[in-house]
């Protein structure tokens, strides 16, 4: 479960129904003792995976190696199973977008990101996973599909995938591709875990990755397809805005179990190996 501060008391009081927590690493790199104490409590209850939002893999500023080292130290202190961040850019010179921004998908840019990701993995003692982005703009200069681009980065850096099913769906709707083509391209042995979240549909039809709503039926369907192709894999529910109660979040996790319950994990992968 993605763990957010408003849920600390309820989550710590009753963590049943949750196998591990995922927290936003940047929120725990400061010197304030209150976040650190909460993180210690979380760790005492469940494993804590670290998820980042500012690595800037597609950026052109130098990598912030001090940031990576601090994340690595936090991961070691917590005994985290892994660290993940996004395939995006977030800054330019002194400007910080505080958003996850896309680029065109080209071989040159993929190789640039892979080289940066390889450096990151080299500084960490835990597996580093790259999350696929949801995006609202695609570029005429792209020479690769998004899934070819993603795979080239992960393979080039010899790192892992942190696969966001909702992001695949949002981008597929925004850019008119079949999300199942994306899933077919995934090397499931390299998936650390998957994300599920809700999103918003604007009046003009553009889908925005808001994490402020329940997972929609179409994403649940895609999740079942992913499970068929590559399961079993751990699953994290992300919910960041319009936060419901902790109990409602646990219901969403239960719903994930229910949706995959009727589907044999990895049957497509097994079938392909058998063939």
């Amino acid at each position: 479960m993605g763990l957010r501060p408003p849920h600390f008391a309820d989550a710590f009081g009753n963590p049943s129904g949750v196998d591990f927590f995922e927290v936003v690493a940047e929120n725990y790199l400061g010197t304030g003792p209150v976040p650190a104490a909460n993180l210690e409590t979380a760790r005492s209850l469940r494993p804590v995976a670290l998820h980042g939002v500012s690595l800037d893999l597609l950026g052109t500023d130098p990598l912030d190696l001090d940031h990576v080292r601090r994340v690595g130290a936090l991961a070691e202190r917590l005994g985290s199973p892994c660290f993940s961040d996004h395939l995006c850019w977030t800054r330019l010179d002194s400007w910080r977008s505080h958003d996850l921004l896309p680029t065109p998908f080209t071989e040159e840019i993929a190789d640039h990101a892979a080289a940066r990701a390889e450096i990151v993995q080299g500084l960490l003692s835990v597996p580093f996973g790259i999350e696929n982005l949801s995006s609202y703009a695609a570029f005429s200069g792209s020479t690769l599909t998004e899934w070819e681009f993603y795979r080239r980065v992960v393979d080039g850096a010899r790192v892992w995938r942190m696969l966001d099913i909702n992001n695949i769906f949002v981008s597929a709707r925004n850019h008119d591709f079949d999300p199942r083509d994306y899933l077919e391209s995934v090397d499931w042995d390299r998936v650390l875990y998957v994300h599920l979240a809700g999103h918003h549909i604007r009046p003009d039809g553009l889908r925005i990755d808001t994490h402020d709503a329940p997972v929609c039926e179409e994403v649940w369907d895609l999740y079942q397809d992913a499970w068929t192709l590559g399961g079993p894999f751990p699953t994290v529910i992300e919910w960041d805005d319009n936060l419901p109660s902790w109990a409602r979040l646990v219901e969403e996790a239960t719903s994930a179990r229910r949706h995959r319950g009727s589907v044999l994990p990895g049957v497509a992968r097994i079938a392909s190996v058998a063939a």
Partner: protein
């Protein structure tokens, strides 16, 4: 990667350009002010054109930052109302763009409101909001143990004011209102009751509390931020000898409220 960097520079200028506020509470992405080359690079599909797609990022950029200021400055929002707060916050952000550490995004907001705002109450509310935020996120020195207190005169350890203790003066009792807003309780319309005083905001564990304090105590605490305990005591005895009789009470009060921290072995 020069081409990628050029692309990113075009993106930055397009998506961080300010929004328009045609009426209170209504933010709009102005039409026609995007980089033409960037627009031509964005593919159109499903009937959503390049401007609308860039506009989604631009709205997100401003929404995220303004929302963060809303969260950090709830008293200012209460004083001004969000319809006036949002354009004001956007103007501030144009002059103080987001930095690496979002926790510090509003550090200059109180001073900026004092100069550019129209409400002295909002400026004071901003100082209170900032003190509250800083008290929450400040690092913590070790609290003195009974053994530490017995060694205070030895020079082996130094008593310091905890970084979380914030000292400010205010003309109103803002703090119950802030707690009510944070706890999403119904809050009264209007400003809190007048109560001119010096105040401390301090933290015990994860709990924050605000206390009105004697102005002399506030001055002493400010001095403790700059110099060791014994030096501050000497200065107080020199400038306000009548206050030295209050020291034992102040010390005990500080112990109860977690004001003191220890540096040294």
């Amino acid at each position: 990667m020069n081409a990628l960097r050029d692309f990113q520079a075009r993106w930055r200028s397009s998506t961080s350009a300010p929004l328009r506020f045609p009426s209170p509470g209504r933010a709009e992405v102005p039409e026609g002010d995007y980089d033409g080359r960037l627009l031509s690079e964005i593919a159109e599909s499903r009937g959503v054109d390049a401007s609308a797609r860039l506009g989604a990022y631009r709205l997100q950029y401003w929404f995220r930052l303004v929302t963060l200021l809303q969260k950090d400055f709830p008293l200012v929002g209460h004083v001004l109302g969000w319809e006036d707060f949002n354009p004001l916050a956007s103007r501030y952000l144009l002059e103080h763009p987001a930095t690496e550490v979002l926790d510090r995004l509003g550090d200059s907001f109180p001073g900026w409101i004092r100069v550019h705002g129209t409400s002295s109450a909002a400026a004071e509310a901003a100082r209170v909001d900032l003190a509250w935020n800083q008290a929450f996120s400040a690092p913590e020195l070790r609290s003195p143990s009974a053994e530490d207190l017995g060694r205070l005169g030895s020079g082996e350890i130094g008593l310091r004011l905890q970084p979380a203790v914030r000292i400010l003066s205010a003309t109103r009792d803002w703090f119950p209102l802030r707690v009510s807003i944070l706890q999403e309780e119904p809050v009264p319309v209007g400003l809190p009751k007048p109560l001119r005083s010096a105040w401390t905001v301090s933290r015990t564990g994860s709990t924050l509390r605000a206390e009105p304090v004697d102005p002399l105590l506030a001055a002493f605490l400010r001095d403790l931020r700059r110099r060791p305990w014994m030096d501050a005591l000497e200065r107080l005895a020199g400038t306000h000898p009548e206050a030295t009789g209050s020291i034992p009470e102040w010390f005990a009060r500080g112990l109860a409220l977690g004001w003191w921290g220890v540096e040294g072995a």
